[in-house]
């Protein structure tokens, strides 16, 4: 019973981590939006700024991406390689694809285009985070209940 309850708890913790990572990415998008809107900041500088912010410093791919750019790799390649290399287990494949596709369009259009891009991806990330939160709630309850049922069933069999 305890083991199943723990599995349930572990699962919901993982979803919570996923929501946290998505929220960080959303915060990065928000910052980028502001930096583009007010100073048309270049992509590299936006990433550098994000890496220097305490709340974003541990966002999984930023430092790797900057390192790859610094060693002379093109931005799009650095973005995709750093994400593939450092993707955290809590993120689902859909989340990774979303972050990858954002990088493909980052810096490729004018200011208005970039602002719309950040806005659109922010919405998609919010949606993903909401879905994950709902999933976390329902799955945590489900696994706890499943743990109790399985424990009771096991006890009956043993008796």
């Amino acid at each position: 019973m305890v083991a199943f309850a723990l599995v349930g708890r572990m699962f919901s913790m993982r979803i919570k981590e996923r929501v946290k990572t998505l929220e960080k990415f959303r915060l990065m998008l928000k910052l980028m939006q502001t930096e583009i809107e007010y100073v048309n900041m270049p992509t590299y500088e936006m990433l550098k700024n994000a890496s220097e912010r305490q709340e974003l410093s541990d966002l999984f791919f930023i430092n790797d991406c900057l390192m790859l750019i610094d060693s002379g790799n093109p931005f799009d390649l650095s973005w995709s390689q750093s994400i593939q290399k450092t993707k955290p287990p809590e993120l689902e494949n859909d989340d990774i694809q979303l972050i990858l596709s954002f990088g493909k369009s980052l810096g490729t259009t004018d200011r208005d285009g970039q602002l719309s891009l950040c806005g659109m991806y922010e919405e998609l990330i919010v949606k993903k985070a909401q879905e994950a939160q709902a999933k976390a709630k329902s799955h945590a309850a489900l696994y706890s209940k499943l743990g109790i049922i399985c424990g009771v069933a096991l006890a009956i069999i043993l008796i």
């Binding site: 048309n40 992509t43 590299y44 931005f75 810096g107 259009t109 004018d110 200011r111």
Partner: protein, 340 residues
């Protein structure tokens, strides 16, 4: 020679990896003579030297006649080059792309050939970039020494530099800024460079890519009139340097600056003395009485060669002499403007 080669190598860093490798293989003798690198979809990479335009081959060999050893530039090469030039941030270079050029690290200027996106008659953006022209920046130090000695070493005058395209007006202005504002020189000034098109100081990430002097403050990207007024208001310059004066607002700003005790070094496009007199903004500048002399550049093969230094009075006299009964002013036997 080493400086010319390193400048070439620096400019070549903005090229897409495939063509960069090819261009970097060019021999040092050719590299030091290259003025431009031209990239166009469907044709080999071209370089412009003093002996004309040459094609660049796979192994860095150059030639004039096309054969299969000259690989053709592809759309993805041009796209990748543009991305590198803009630091993968087209939005940051938006205004300069609309102007048709981007300044890159080292002060090199990249001209962009593309299709215009026009909305209600206003240029909104560009697309289908098909051509890039990288002009290699090479600073000529010392070309303005004589002018500095004559007009600024023992006095502080305002001057106009005039000449045809590619005669070295901007180069001269840049060197004059360096001489004027270098602390430790015979006489040093607080200067302000109004660099609307990033041609003089070529600012990149907040740093001038050309040496414009220690004590020079660069206002980059500001419209000239706005930049002059801003400099006067807040930067307390003694000399303001400004390229290609052309509008009434700019003349008005210069006039205000002079009233605040600032001297000016400006340039004006003109192929001849008569063309200069025919320009309304030049006549307006004459009327302000601010400028002491006009330096007319030769415009031959060698840049920054001074053809003539004329006192402003000479222009007054010439116009006065040339004024006919019908009010037309003729300089060099040519009607240049009508006062009526």
């Amino acid at each position: 020679m080493q400086d010319s080669i390193s400048k070439f190598n620096e400019a070549a860093q903005c090229l897409a990896p495939i063509i960069r490798t090819q261009v970097l293989k060019i021999s040092d003798i050719v590299k030091k003579d290259v003025r431009e690198i031209r990239i166009k979809i469907g044709v080999p990479v071209m370089i412009v030297c003093s002996c004309g335009t040459m094609l660049v081959g796979r192994d860095g060999r150059t030639g004039y006649i096309y054969n299969e050893n000259f690989p053709l530039v592809t759309l993805s090469d041009v796209k990748e080059t543009l991305n590198i030039i803009c630091g993968y941030s087209l939005h940051s270079c938006q205004s300069s792309l609309l102007e048709g050029y981007v300044t890159i690290k080292g002060g090199h200027r990249v001209g962009v050939g593309a299709r215009a996106v026009v909305e209600n008659g206003v240029l909104k953006g560009i697309r289908d970039v098909a051509f890039l022209n990288i002009r290699i920046a090479r600073q000529c130090k010392g070309v303005a020494v004589n002018i500095y000695d004559k007009f600024f070493n023992h006095s502080q005058k305002s001057i106009i530099v005039s000449g045809p395209p590619s005669s070295g007006k901007t180069t001269l202005l840049r060197d004059l800024s360096r001489l004027l504002s270098d602390i430790g020189g015979s006489k040093s000034y607080r200067t302000c460079v109004i660099d609307e098109r990033d041609e003089i100081a070529a600012m990149y990430n907040g740093q001038p890519q050309n040496d414009v002097g220690i004590n020079a403050c660069v206002l980059s990207g500001f419209p000239k009139a706005e930049g002059i007024l801003r400099a006067i208001r807040s930067l307390s310059p003694q000399v303001i340097l400004c390229d290609e004066i052309g509008t009434n607002a700019e003349v008005e700003a210069i006039s205000q600056g002079f009233n605040s005790g600032v001297s000016f070094v400006i340039t004006i496009h003109s192929s001849s003395k008569s063309e200069l007199v025919a320009k309304s903004q030049f006549r307006k500048l004459m009327q302000t009485g601010i400028f002491d002399s006009v330096i007319i550049l030769d415009g031959g093969v060698k840049p920054c060669v001074i053809k003539e230094i004329c006192k402003m009075e000479e222009f007054y006299n010439e116009i006065h002499r040339a004024r006919s009964f019908d009010g037309c002013v003729r300089v060099g036997g040519q009607n240049v403007f009508n006062e009526n």
